[in-house]
């Protein structure tokens, strides 16, 4: 790969997001290391095999990643979902679940609009 990571602390970054930064997530422990440790321990526990399988959790994470529109998370969980054995159909359906909830959240507020229209009307 010819592209290299911009130096840490550089003020000449081409954009706010850079995919190399995903691999630097752990550096967040530079400040408040105890909190970072708690977070990463918690994170690992959340994604461990449990009542839900690790594969199912990975698909949920992929859907949430699209809802919060986090490019790091989409990168990480696209890869993770494939590694957990999920396929494109399942991953796409997960993204549609995110889209449906997100779209539905807007649309269901239309009931509030109806309430206002009803209140304001004759």
């Amino acid at each position: 790969m010819s592209e290299s990571s911009p130096p840490a602390g550089s003020s000449s970054r081409p954009s706010y997001y850079h995919h190399h930064d995903l691999g630097r997530f752990g550096e967040i422990a530079r400040g408040a290391p105890a909190l970072a440790e708690k977070f990463f321990d918690y994170y690992a526990a959340v994604f461990a095999e449990g009542a839900l399988s690790a594969r199912e959790k990975s698909l949920i994470a992929l859907a949430v990643a699209h809802t919060v529109q986090c490019p790091y998370c989409i990168d990480a969980y696209s890869k993770d979902a494939l590694e957990k054995g999920s396929n494109l159909d399942e991953m796409t359906e997960a993204v549609h679940v995110a889209a449906a909830i997100r779209g539905g959240a807007s649309l269901v507020h239309g009931v509030q609009m109806l309430n206002h229209v009803d209140d304001l009307g004759m």
């Binding site: 790969m1 010819s2 399988s53 690790a54 594969r55 494939l82 590694e83 957990k84 054995g85 396929n87």
Partner: protein, 347 residues
């Protein structure tokens, strides 16, 4: 099958050369060299133990040209194991008392002496394994192979990257998945994979530049899916990491992702997997009789290190056991995550 691509060799691609592959790998900057990783794990220098498996690569001929093939096998390859090499391998199998013979290729059943090899190795009381691409046994001149395998209780290790056509065909060629199902059904009808002594194991490798998942979890899902969708049963699922050599290296280079992929393998180095790598208990024999530590080293033309005997004609257990193993950056492919071997995950 409608898609059979030319091999790297046929296309005269630069990475058809083992030397060129080694050069590309050597140029990739790694956070830690493989020998350094071994040393940090207390495993340097890596050496062999008792030989438990004699792996015979019968040649590079294959009816498929899979996108990840570490052999660069295909219909246009002509390298096949000669009769004298085959005889020497059988003689070593017998006098060395090696318990298992693992037959690979290419598609090894395309070798004219495959049937005889299976029969004689089985006659010596050895456990025989056949690495099967599933489609070669459907070819008209090879339709007798499944019954032969069953008659000698040969363990079949069959490649199938995924339980759907889209993924499988993208890696192995249009129509391969449907043919693979037909072959698996034939094997099931002969009693394979039914838990009655005829062992049918599947091998999955990622269709892309990601690492394989946890073998046990994948196996449970695959068993459920293969049974529910296709009525097919099997014994074990083995996960294998794509090795960054030959055609997969060519793919990585074309994608500009060699460094990224190697980086992932290096970051996932697992000392437990390194301790159990299959090269420690395997002796690999090339089509021309040259000895290697594994099939991957064979394709990179990295023979066993001196002073071990270099060919099957000179092989003795005493001279080969305890030898130092030839390593390189590609070895990270077998030690990443849960590890990878011809028998699947290691750790």
């Amino acid at each position: 099958m409608s898609r059979v691509l030319p091999t790297l060799a046929k296309a005269r691609a630069p990475l058809a050369s083992a030397v060129a592959q080694r050069r590309v790998l050597a140029r990739v900057p790694l956070a830690r060299g493989f020998d350094r990783a071994l040393a940090d794990a207390g495993l340097f220098p890596l050496s062999t133990r008792q030989i438990e498996v004699l792996q015979l690569n019968l040649g590079k001929r294959c009816n498929q040209t899979c996108g990840h093939c570490h052999v660069d096998a295909g219909p246009d390859r002509t390298e096949v194991m000669s009769r004298p090499v085959l005889e020497a391998a059988l003689a070593f199998l017998e006098r060395g008392g090696i318990p298992t013979v693992d037959i690979t290729g290419g598609a090894p059943e395309l070798h004219p002496d495959f049937r005889e090899l299976v029969t004689r190795a089985s006659g010596l009381g050895r456990h025989v394994m056949h690495r099967c691409n599933l489609t070669a046994i459907l070819l008209p001149n090879y339709a007798d192979i499944p019954a032969l395998l069953a008659a000698h209780a040969v363990e079949v290790v069959a490649s199938l990257p995924y339980f759907q056509a889209r993924e499988t065909d993208r890696q192995r060629g249009e129509g391969v998945f449907a043919e693979s199902l037909e072959a698996l059904r034939r094997l099931n009808r002969l009693g394979y994979g039914q838990g009655r002594g005829l062992v049918l194991n599947l091998v999955t490798n990622p269709v892309g530049t990601f690492l394989p998942g946890e073998q046990r979890a994948l196996e449970a899902r695959w068993k459920q899916q293969m049974q529910a969708r296709y009525g097919i049963v099997f014994d074990r699922l083995f996960t294998i990491t794509n090795m960054p050599i030959s055609r997969f290296l060519d793919f990585l280079e074309r994608q500009g992702r060699t460094e990224e992929y190697l980086g992932r393998l290096v970051a996932a180095f697992n000392p437990a997997a390194a301790a159990g790598v299959m090269c420690r208990t395997t002796l690999s024999v090339g089509w021309d009789g040259t000895l290697y530590d594994c099939d991957f080293n064979q394709m990179l033309e990295l023979p066993v290190s001196a002073p071990a005997p270099r060919t099957i004609f000179d092989a003795t257990r005493e001279a080969l056991e305890g030898r130092g193993i030839a390593t390189g950056p590609h070895c990270y492919g077998c030690t990443a995550g849960a590890g990878s071997s011809c028998g699947g995950a290691i750790a």
